[in-house]
Symmetry: D3
Subunit: 248 residues, 6 copies
């Protein structure tokens, strides 16, 4: 059930029995020499659709551009400032809460979004509590990071070991290959790839990670892996969503 | 060429010869009893992809939620405040200009976005001129509204006459039917539909347009019409884009 | 009835029967070699006073500085950023709505203000709807651009033909000559004047319009023309205002 | 020399020898049963014009609406929030400094503006120092409050003694009577008028000052007093301006 | 009674009979060759604690960094922008007012904070009046500047005469010596020290006041003076606070 | 070396060889029936001073109020909104970076600050990179949470087992008892204490955690435990700081 493919009377009816919504959030940022710039949005959107189907929950439109300031020294990367993203989330939650939604489950494809999302939730609870919206105090929001699912993590470890790395990982690349098999990219990848260096600003990031990868070997990815990882993520996040949405 | 399906080295190469990018912007808002909530985003994204192919131009990620505050009394509608959308556009243009892009063509599916987009362009030119980005003074942005293309307008007039209306129009519904034929909705539509009343706030809007339509009869839409309208829009906006991108 | 020349008990009494207010908004920006920097504010203020008298409506203080960022490469030009102007309008409407005003008619002298004003109205409706002000949902705002009045446009066409242009026009210069006959300026005007080039940032604007005019020949202006144009604008905007203020 | 009655080449020429500008700032707020709502703007504008003539200095457009939140429980009062006014001042100084102005003398008619103006100057110095404007570090701004001129104060004391009060004073009313003799208002004024109570929020203000006056008896005002006070203010502020503008 | 050393039930009990709170605000900025960077915060905090004890009032946490942009050309100085400080104060007052506090007495150690604090109070009254907090209209805030207490001023005059100056004064240095006798600094001080020059931006400030002092001779300070000044400030501000808190 | 007890020439000298600074950040929020409202600030400040001494590093002023919106339904709690805290951090880093600091180590006492701090660092790197500050690209910031130190965690586990809980923990209470032995509070604590419930808005928090504790038994705390925990935290964070500050 994609919100974009529903009509407003269908949403009105849905809200009679369910006040939950899943919102995919990704990023538009470099993913190394072979990873798609849309990787994080593609994964989040695909998995969110899967969770929506599995749990009969409305899936909202994907937030395609997230907090990726540290990637912006690579061409094609886009980012909101954290202060902008906070206002975006606040606006989303205000619109939807006024209509009756109260459970917001963000399926997230990008580690860099997590801190700002959490800050945005706090800002939104506060802001909503000062509006004249009856259900404002019942609002709850949660981030579900598909790449941090226990089963996904274990599978990635099993498939790639240390070559999973932490950015432009074979596991996220595999999911994009599963979703867009016609867009599998090839490029020679240096076997030497930096890892473990903390993330600060954009130029610092690029100087330490010159091709954009962080300790990863995305050449190991296959569409078949992607399908497995996708299925594991959908299953685990569906359980996580239901637990969240049904809690008192 | 979708930015999301490219790698950063591909973007780097593209920028050697082309500094233009197309960004689809839609809205997430009620479109009457049968129109999809994602109508404006669906149309903008589909047409933008068409224009991107026709002109060999990179197409950025779709801005799914726009300025639709006046629709927010209908469930499922989402909106950014204008002040938020201005910051979003400013962030997009800052990221992309730093990488070398200088021509921004927003293919827009929602009339309510136009004013804020224009305000955002002014704010962005100013902001960019004060950053240390060499190409900042060369930045230009333009809105291309597919529904205001001359050929689209004439075809809609020819197909629907006065029943085109101005929101939840048969022409935009037709394009969504062409793109998502499996999501064609049916509902009984009152023959009496208000029109011509100006747009103010959300509750005022709903009291004047109780089912969300503004003078339109979307029951006239067909996927075949949608294909025709899509083709006309892609053709005209492609010309418009090239003229914009190639101007001195 | 100028708000500035009223007392608060007079305003209180006025609000018993009338909740409309006219607010002139202009700009402080170059108007070519002979046009006054205050042209847009002068025209808007004079015409607004005329409309106020004709319709017995309170006229608020003039917004002298508007959105003119694209003119700021010429000395003497001043501008608010769009994001600032939105907050200014929001503050105006909040103060006045709390007092009981609900119909805001902005008489505007500058094309560059239109987009930001419309964005500001949307932001304000939203903002007001979340305050504890009973009449907030009844608030309506409208822009009346004197230079876009049908009768003004026709008269300008008749008087100046293609030499009307689109900035530093003889028609607006004529109105300032009617209002300030002691401030008529003379300077040699190059017969070659650019026109039709779109507006982007400030340095781009000046490089395309080196003396500030856009396709206009302000040397054609006379104070007598100004009086005619003033009268046409007052008449048409008075009708427009009354229709707006008296609508259900 | 009013900026609004100059052309941009005239400003360009002026800047060859003078980088000072005078900006009147008033307020739109209740001034008791007989004081004009525009009192503070009227006084500031008239005196600023006088100072501009006396010192051959450009006078910018009047800021008509200032920081008067505490007056907004009286109808007709308008106010910017301090945070908005700071952005307005910052935008003014950015536009003008980019053109070459460096000395900003605000002639102020409203005590409530002073704190925010000073905060705005600090914010502006900081902001300008981070833009690429060569003369940014030379920018200086100063508030000249006409009602706090020593000679004005002494004259008011001499004319009105304790009945001068601190808001809707006979001295400011007198200046408006001098400027707008056709707008002298009469109303019965209670002899009992509160004074000395500090200013907090708007409803608190109105409950302590029910007719808007603060310890004043504006019935004592005459246009002749107004002329005397005007002349004293122009003389003293002209000296103050020249000292400011000519300092190293 | 320091808020930081209380529990929430103790605060709840306190609020049954008292809704006042004292908040120290200082600055982190250069104080000449021998003055401590924390001078303004140290003085404000110490005196606030004294006033809290004397009046049995809760003392909140110290705002250590204030509005000191003009000092930031000296290493170690820190500053909030005025627009940031306004939001900080607004957040403080919102949290505390929601809990039941209504009287806010800021004991201030830095002249540069005054304007922004006053602007912040206005912004906060307005903001709070639009939240759903019953006691919002009863909120009152006041700045008590210890260095402007009449008795302090007289004592400083008596002790230091003209060598008191206006920044890095012997009186404030003396109070820090009383509070932190182990941190008394020595350095040779030029007998020539500028004074009387107005404060504009940071680089302008440093060029006129090269060692950071403004007309002062802090070498005259002693811990004994500090104790005297501290006692005078505590006494006078305690009276001032009680008058403020107990007013109708 | 506390910044507040240094002079600006001492800071200037320090910066010749060291560009690191430690900034304590706490919170002002309820800590259950017996925990001090200042617990998080007290712990952070004490430990930061210890780390500063151990590593010969400047320690900046404590940020006493953090992001604690979820605690604000308990009296005495104070909070910045995340968007405010981001601006505060940005201002701190801008002031200090302009002076030459480049390594920012925030010693943090409150879990609720972490997300906003990380968002603020990203915003600051971006913002600084657009100012004219040479060392801006070398800026790095890091959060060191004393309560998440491995040794602290193990000791707390050993001392308290499951009764450590996650808010108003015996370990943090113990540290405050060590620092302020005269402020040890007693109150009867219900043996039933909720735990494991996620944190959403303020009223939701209080309804799930009615006395403010989250699964903890602070009655187990002793000043002796506090000293042990303090020492462990200082040792581990000193190592962590040095590794951070000395990294390439």
């Amino acid at each position: 059930m994609l919100l974009h493919l529903m009509t407003w009377p269908e949403v009105e009816e849905y809200l009679q029995t369910n006040t939950g919504i899943i919102i995919p959030i990704g990023s538009t940022e470099q993913h190394g020499p072979t990873g798609l710039i849309g990787t994080d949005a593609i994964c989040a959107e695909a998995i969110a659709k899967g969770v929506g189907e599995a749990t009969q929950t409305v899936v909202g439109p994907t937030i395609n551009v997230g907090m990726a300031l540290h990637h912006t020294a690579f061409p094609g990367s886009m980012s909101l400032r954290p202060s902008t993203l906070i206002q975006v989330i606040l606006d989303y939650l205000t619109s939807l809460t006024a209509a009756g939604f109260t459970r917001y489950f963000f399926i997230n494809g990008h580690g860099g979004n997590i801190a700002t999302l959490k800050a945005a939730f706090s800002e939104s609870y506060y802001h909503l509590s000062h509006l004249n919206i009856p259900q404002a105090t019942q609002v709850r929001a949660k981030v579900g990071n598909w790449f941090m699912c226990r089963a996904v993590y274990q599978k990635a470890k099993e498939l790639y070991g240390d070559q999973e790395g932490s950015h432009a990982t074979p596991s996220e690349v595999a999911v994009t290959q599963f979703v867009y098999p016609e867009s599998i990219k090839n490029a020679s990848l240096s076997p030497d790839v930096n890892s473990g260096y903390p993330i600060y600003g954009a130029s610092d990031f690029r100087s330490h990670y010159p091709d954009g990868r962080m300790g990863s070997n995305p050449a190991l990815a296959t569409p078949e892996h992607g399908e497995q990882l996708y299925n594991l993520a959908v299953k685990e996040l569906s359980e996580s969503y239901l637990k969240f949405a049904q809690a008192d």
